[in-house]
């Protein structure tokens, strides 16, 4: 039986219920499929090429009568996208601005499964080759046809070592991209590269541009993509106005005719908008949600969020370069106190990989049982062994990425005082924070930061931790380096899971950062807004394209 036939049998067994999802993954691994490819197949089955993923996956939120197309909706955007160029911007709000208009070869559904987007299927003849069959009949918003040339054009920009692609690192293992024919494109990697399919889906320097777009159009404020919505206008700091793409390949999606994302940075304004029903959707803080809990006609949805709060340690500076000191700081850190005081209880303890990220993270119970037990006596004794004097000063650099960071600093200062470390909080403006925290400047002992969406566990634990990572200020652990290198090139999912568990355990024993917790995606929606589903990443594209208005209910 050829590999293709074996895959086919595997899908049909899964679909017919002859095998469990767990057995399916085992079988997929045996066939050499990456975890993401396996998830894709499990999610979509062999009919993925023609069906619209997700339309069938939302039965819980779909009324018996089914989605009603049409309508105009206003949603709050809690931050301004700043610019919409999908290649040159790293800020997450930029992705939230263009995610409804651009697509890549793959996408994430609401459960973080990688599903087909502009590629309707793919094969992996060997560990280093991916052949993507592109969806036919897809049109860009200007009416031109989408072809393999557009994929090649985009990735030639992304892969250029001197090019402007901010997230080029997500594709650093890709060697070349070749056009096989008009609807087929081949990616060759330097080594086995399991994160590839997720790297497309996360839309960070991976949105497919029309050939020539970088040179011929103003990508900062205009979009010519293939996504479910066309950009009508983007007025910075004001709004992003979208109109339904009637030619979308995933018909009948999207349902809403027109959607405006109004920039409402003040939560007070978002709350007022939800109360008065002038907006249908808003991102909320725990406090904001508490104020709206008794509001009629409003649903508050919660789920874990890929926003991992941490204190990053500068291991180039003494005494923080000493493993015992870092361990002492971790032992004196009471994560539960952070969750209670800063997040009103609406957060989950997390290790190096954010809790809720697939099944790659160490569960909260394990963290509490082994690593996150506060032990001040042991911490003090470790500091004493390391020769750290009482009243040792720590320069803690903070900036207001959001309103929680000030609270984090204060609680941390209080906790560290208990083991004789005198935390000097240095709050700086964001530009200063970036400059002082940049490679080879590293002007801090510790800084308060947060890790946002990652498409692969490697994204959480390689950058800033591997001794060859340019964002790592002095942390070295050769065993860990070796494991990190192996894990990012291992295809077998089971082996990868074991490795990333080991990696996290090493990191918790020999901390590079003080990982605290990740907070929640809390979103308020009007109850007449149906079909919307939350995303761990706080991407809204899947939710929006499945959303519809049922104003009569």
């Amino acid at each position: 039986m050829s590999q293709h036939d074996s895959q086919g049998k595997l899908y049909s067994d899964l679909n017919s219920g002859r095998i469990s999802r767990r057995d399916f993954f085992k079988g997929a691994a045996a066939l050499g499929l990456s975890i993401t490819a396996a998830q894709l197949l499990a999610a979509c089955g062999p009919s993925a090429a023609t069906s619209v993923p997700g339309a069938q996956q939302q039965p819980a939120t779909t009324a018996p009568s089914g989605p009603k197309p049409g309508g105009v909706s206003t949603w709050a955007a809690e931050t301004d996208p700043v610019a919409l160029n999908p290649i040159t911007n790293s800020n997450f709000s930029s992705t939230q601005g263009f995610e409804h208009c651009y697509e890549s070869l793959t996408a994430f559904d609401s459960k973080l499964n990688v599903v087909p987007a502009l590629a309707e299927s793919w094969t992996t003849p060997d560990d280093k080759t991916y052949i993507f069959k592109l969806r036919q009949g897809v049109k860009f918003h200007d009416g031109s046809e989408f072809t393999a040339d557009d994929v090649k054009y985009t990735f030639d920009i992304v892969l250029d070592p001197k090019g402007p692609a901010i997230w080029r690192g997500n594709f650093d293992q890709v060697d070349k991209v070749e056009v096989v024919d008009k609807n087929t494109v081949k990616f060759t990697t330097k080594a086995p590269f399991p994160p590839l399919l997720g790297a497309f889906a996360i839309l960070r320097s991976s949105a497919i541009l029309k050939k020539g777009a970088m040179e011929n159009t103003k990508l900062e404020t205009t979009i010519n993509g293939t996504g479910p919505y066309k950009l009508v206008e983007y007025v910075p700091k004001s709004h992003v106005k979208l109109a339904r793409n009637a030619d979308y390949w995933g018909k009948p999606l999207p349902y809403l005719n027109e959607v405006t994302f109004k920039v409402m940075e003040e939560e007070e304004q978002r709350i007022a908008g939800l109360r008065s029903k002038t907006i249908d959707y808003a991102f909320l803080t725990a406090d904001g949600a508490a104020r709206l809990k008794d509001e009629k006609g409003l649903a508050i949805n919660r789920g874990p969020r890929a926003y991992l709060y941490s204190f990053v340690i500068n291991c180039l500076r003494k005494p923080w370069s000493d493993k015992r000191v870092r361990q002492a700081v971790s032992l004196a850190t009471d994560r539960q106190e952070f969750i209670d005081k800063v997040f009103s209880g609406q957060a989950t303890m997390a290790g190096p990989i954010a809790t809720g990220f697939g099944d790659w993270f160490i569960p909260e119970a394990d963290l509490k049982a082994k690593w996150y037990k506060t032990d001040l006596d042991k911490a003090k004794s470790l500091l004493k062994d390391a020769g750290v004097p009482q009243g040792q000063e720590m320069d803690l650099m903070m900036t207001a990425f959001n309103q929680n960071f000030a609270g984090l600093a204060v609680v941390f200062k209080d906790q560290m005082a208990k083991i004789g470390i005198n935390v000097k909080i240095r709050t700086v403006e964001q530009g200063v924070f970036i400059k002082e925290g940049a490679q080879d400047v590293w002007n801090y002992d510790m800084n308060g930061n947060a890790f946002t969406a990652r498409h692969d566990p490697d994204g959480y634990v390689y950058n800033g931790i591997h001794s060859k990572s340019p964002t790592n200020p002095g942390y070295k652990n050769p065993t860990l380096d070796d494991l990190l290198d192996k894990a990012r090139t291992t295809i077998d999912s089971g082996q990868r899971h074991t490795m990333y568990r080991q990696i996290q355990e090493i990191l918790l024993d020999d901390p590079k950062n003080i990982w605290l917790c990740n907070d929640q995606v809390i979103e308020g929606t009007q109850t007449y807004l149906k079909g919307y589903s939350q995303s761990f990443y706080t991407y809204r594209s899947w939710g929006l394209k499945n959303a519809w208005l049922d104003k009569t209910s």
């Binding site: 206003t74 402007p164 404020t221 910075p236 530009g431 002082e436």
Partner: protein, 316 residues
């Protein structure tokens, strides 16, 4: 008079040049730049990639060349292009100015409408109960921070009345009714402090004027009280008030940023503030230069108004 105006206009040139050098230099003193903001805190790029980005945004030239290029463009009426959105700064200004100008004009007019009659009333009824009431209202208006008032208005309108205006800004030409609804809360929030200042100013100026001989003369020759107030007292009391108003309008153009943020109205102040955060040099330079220009012009108009209200003032 025309010589005076000409001299003031000529003086604009060194003033604006000084401001542009100052803003240009101050922005460069700020740590970090737009490319570092684009890269953020989570990743790092190779020196080659960084060089490409610097070239892409036009920051690869030496600073003095950048300044001369920018100055040359400004002299030709081009304020440059935003480093983040690649939009011409003049286009952004033209998008933002109507919002800020409308808030400033409506707030000023509304505050005058309330403050002038109350100020006169208060002065005429000096030390009476009504004067005390107006005095208290003035103190409250001054003491209330406008962001607090703005938040309270948001709460009151949404919790009690279940009402908010349309979220996305609409110009008066597109839909006057919707536009005025959108302006209601920002204007009320900003007017409170403005009217308090103007009211107190009018009151004290009027009190000073009302005690003067020419008022007694006007009354003695049998002029009606209303005429005395409007024609003689108010006109003479207006000079310090005009100064305050000139400064207030100038302040409102750039200073309504908090209110713009609370209500999500992207005006000029917010544009400049965001430009500073993003290290978007042309936006800040162009925005500040424009505001400085308007501010100087408003002050010139205020100075000329002195001559109108007080014929004794002559400019040479």
């Amino acid at each position: 008079m025309s010589q005076y105006i000409l001299r003031r206009v000529v003086l604009l040139v060194p003033t604006l040049l000084g401001i542009s050098i100052l803003v240009f230099a101050l922005m460069r003193f700020l740590p970090g730049d737009v490319v570092q903001m684009m890269i953020g805190t989570e990743i790092t790029l190779s020196p080659e990639q960084k060089a490409t980005l610097y070239k892409l945004v036009g920051l690869d030239a030496p600073i003095h060349i950048q300044f001369l290029r920018w100055l040359g463009d400004v002299l030709r009426g081009d304020l440059g292009v935003s480093l983040r959105t690649a939009q011409p700064v003049t286009t952004i200004l033209m998008q933002r100015l109507p919002i800020t100008a409308e808030i400033a004009i409506l707030s000023t007019l509304f505050s005058w409408l309330v403050a002038i009659p109350l100020g006169i009333f208060s002065a005429v009824n000096r030390n009476g109960k009504a004067d005390l009431l107006v005095h208290v209202i003035g103190l409250v208006g001054l003491a209330l921070p406008n962001f607090w008032l703005a938040t309270m208005l948001l709460l009151i309108t949404s919790v009690i009345f279940r009402w908010q205006p349309a979220p996305t800004f609409v110009t008066p030409l597109e839909d006057l009714g919707t536009n005025l609804q959108q302006m209601l809360m920002p204007v009320l929030s900003l007017s409170a402090a403005l009217m308090a200042v103007v009211m107190r100013m009018i009151r004290s100026s009027m009190l000073e004027v009302l005690g003067q001989d020419f008022i007694r003369t006007a009354r003695a020759k049998g002029l009606r009280e209303r005429m005395v107030m409007a024609k003689h007292a108010l006109k003479n009391a207006a000079i310090p008030v005009i100064t305050v108003m000139g400064v207030q309008i100038g302040f409102l153009l750039g200073g309504s940023v908090v209110i713009e943020q609370v209500y999500g109205l992207p005006g000029v102040g917010w544009m400049i503030l965001n430009g500073i955060y993003q290290r978007d040099y042309p936006v800040v330079q162009g925005g500040v230069l424009f505001l400085a220009f308007v501010f100087v012009l408003i002050n010139l108009v205020a100075d000329l108004l002195y001559a109108y209200v007080d014929p004794r003032i002559r400019y040479r």
